[in-house]
């Protein structure tokens, strides 16, 4: 068994190379690649700042004509993006850096790709995992109950629900929800997106959870000198180190602020408030398939010979279903857990875009739009590694749950 998984891990390597090689090659051979992008940016920059030398006569449009870039600069640019080498050598050197966990530097963020991804990953995981856990806690009992009550009115009614859920892609339901509850046209119940409130006004639901605060002007001067970034007219909240110095008389409850100015409980509420719609979409995306899988799996097991044997022993229906059949039917469901990681990330491009959640998927999307190839490839590396790991994890779970499976 250990050798099996060792082999699986080894097999990850060619798989990984195959995936990255394909995408790397595509970025190299198709016009509009990184060098052209860089040239374009360079030209735009020159046009904007008006320092373009010969290019000034070309007018404001950077694309037609534009500032002429010297061959020397082009060579430098090519060298930066590795285009001075044949593509396979460039790929090898890129791969070599990836192995050392160096994903390069983002073009648009001007930060290491690794840092950019590390910032966005927890956000995605937070939403994805919540949705994932919630969908399992809804779908498994529902599927079991549908199987137990197969053919009843309850079963039929929930089947309709399943059909509806299957026919609405999760992200498009997100748009519908925003339309309905985002305050654009109908009710204004939920925020339009994001992770936390940037602005909380006096009429907000959360205004009551705002902390005490003080005006910057009210901070004693000696204390204020320690915090040069504070500007007059701003407010600080009670979490700010300078707050202690403010005389109690000048303290007052804040009437407006951001989520940072909320009390702990208020922040949690704010988070939840922002999570409800996106998480609903995540759950919706998995709802139909998981419920039906659970139901069919259980129904199938209820028709098996060993269930008949269990009944022949005199066990009650409840025991047979929940002890004998359920355990077998959870096997395919549980292996789905293994694909969790990749699912959480793969499903997120659309939902994160809809709800403007700055997570992993959103990063991938913006990187693609901005043609930020280091980030794009970095995300591809992470996503495919997670997917491969998830597959192995699924196999391991399968092994752990089903005593029949012994990979050898």
């Amino acid at each position: 068994m250990t050798t099996y998984f060792l082999q699986r891990f080894l097999l990850m390597i060619p798989t990984f190379i195959g995936i990255t090689f394909l995408c790397f090659t595509v970025t190299r051979f198709v016009p509009g690649g990184p060098v052209e992008q860089a040239v374009l940016r360079y030209q735009q920059l020159q046009a904007l700042t008006g320092e373009g030398g010969a290019g000034d006569a070309g007018g404001s449009s950077a694309t037609d004509g534009g500032p002429v870039i010297s061959e020397e600069t082009m060579q430098k640019l090519r060298a930066i993006y590795g285009f001075d080498k044949p593509f396979y050598l460039a790929y090898l050197s890129w791969l070599g850096r990836v192995v050392q966990l160096d994903l390069g530097t983002s073009d648009t963020f001007a930060r290491p790709v690794w840092d950019v991804i590390r910032d966005s990953l927890p956000v995605s995981l937070w939403f994805g995992l919540t949705g994932f856990i919630l969908s399992y806690t809804i779908c498994i009992p529902l599927g079991v109950w549908k199987a137990v009550k197969h053919g009843s009115a309850f079963d039929t009614a929930t089947s309709v629900l399943v059909f509806i859920a299957y026919s609405i892609p999760g992200w498009s339901a997100g748009i519908l929800l925003l339309l309905l509850f985002g305050g654009g046209s109908f009710w204004s119940v939920f925020p339009l997106g994001g992770v936390s409130s940037a602005q909380i006004g006096p009429d907000s639901y959360l205004a009551g959870f705002l902390l005490e605060g003080a005006r910057v002007e009210d901070i004693p001067d000696d204390e204020r000198a320690k915090h040069p970034q504070l500007r007059p007219g701003q407010f600080i909240n009670s979490r700010h180190p300078a707050f202690a110095a403010v005389p109690p008389a000048k303290r007052q409850r804040l009437t407006r602020g951001s989520s940072d100015d909320l009390s702990w409980f208020g922040q949690v509420l704010d988070r939840i408030w922002h999570m409800i719609l996106p998480v609903f979409c995540y759950v919706l995306g998995m709802f139909a398939s998981k419920t039906v899988l659970m139901k069919n799996s259980l129904m199938e097991n209820l028709g098996q010979d060993y269930v008949r044997t269990a009944f022949a022993k005199g066990l009650s229906e409840r025991t047979v279903i929940f002890k004998h059949a359920l355990r077998n039917s959870l096997i395919p469901i549980a292996t789905g857990l293994g694909h969790m990681l990749s699912l959480v990330l793969a499903g997120s491009y659309l939902i994160e875009k809809v709800f403007n959640i700055h997570g992993f998927g959103y990063l991938g999307y913006t990187a693609l739009v901005a043609r930020d190839y280091p980030v794009t490839l970095g995300i591809l590396v992470i996503a495919s590694s997670l997917k491969l790991l998830g597959n192995i994890f699924a196999d391991m779970l399968y092994c752990a749950i089903d005593p029949r499976i012994r990979f050898s």
Binding site: Y4, Q7, S408
Partner: protein, 382 residues
Amino acid sequence: MSQPPPTDSRMPLAAPQPASSPVLADRLPILEVRDLRMYFPVFGGLFQRQVAEVKAVDGVSFTLHEGETLGLVGESGCGKSTTGKCLANLYRPTGGEILFRSRRSGEVQVHALSDEKRAWSVRPFPMRVPVTVDLARLDNAQMRPFRAEIQMIFQDPYASLNPRMTVHDIVREPLTIHQPHLGAAGMDDRVAWLLEKVGLSPEQAQRYPHEFSGGQRQRIGIARALATNPRLVIADEPVSALDVSIQAQVINLLQDLQEEFGLTYLFIAHDLAVVEHISDRIAVMYLGNLVEIAPTAELFDNPRHPYTRALLSAIPQADPTRPRARRQILQGEVPTPLNKPSGCGFRTRCPIVQPDCAQFPPPLLALGNGHSVACPYHARQN
């Protein structure tokens, strides 16, 4: 000069096999199996390398004579079906030879000693002789011309007919392959004739298999097998999936057809009573080996191999009044062919096992009367 001897040493034209009974000595062997081996590789690991092999058939030799029925019995997994499928070239054997004397004749250059001109000389000359081929070495395309002569009847009448084809198409298909010269009308006539031969009415030809009962389907399978006018029919448990009251009909049909067309049967079965009824000789297999082969009456009256004895005694009889010897119940289970015991495959369950049974696989010893047994200690039992 009238009978120049063929020089192909494998050609079993002249010498009847010593194992065959005296009664059959005048018949010609149609098929000779020598040391047939069929190992199925077991793949494992990531790159599915071969990690072991299942020795389904492990050195089986026997001869089939023209017009006889050889019963092949054994428990499930003993390799009897695999043997049958090797003969029909459905598997490529791992080793051994399957020499088949075809009806086709071919021109061969015969080297013969000639005493023409009073001087001994070797001189090649062409001659048409029946072709003897080693089926074990033919690939699918090379085998095709010989398939007309070797046909197979399968066990499961539900699985052996393509559910998406009409009976007419099923029976006609071998004709389109082997006798295209018949033409459309000729084929239709022959299909109707064949269906009538197996006891189905030609009106049923346009129906699909699922509209027939098990017995009728088996008749369709028989009609398909007979379509090409074969000489050797390998019947792989043709009645064991049928109901008792239908079995007898099919057995009778097989016997009638054998008489009418002079067919040779290799009749594979696990039901000894059926095999006894239909066979001239019986071969018993255990774990990929032939343990005993004898004319039917001889085998039942005088079983020599301990396994045959146990098998005969384990098989229940539909006769509560008939006195019989005390049951001899074998203990233990059949070992898996994946790791066969060394030496004699039966030694793990054998009541007369000897220490050196593990040393080498016992050879088939001829006892006379066409009776051979693969046990050197067979005389030690009672």
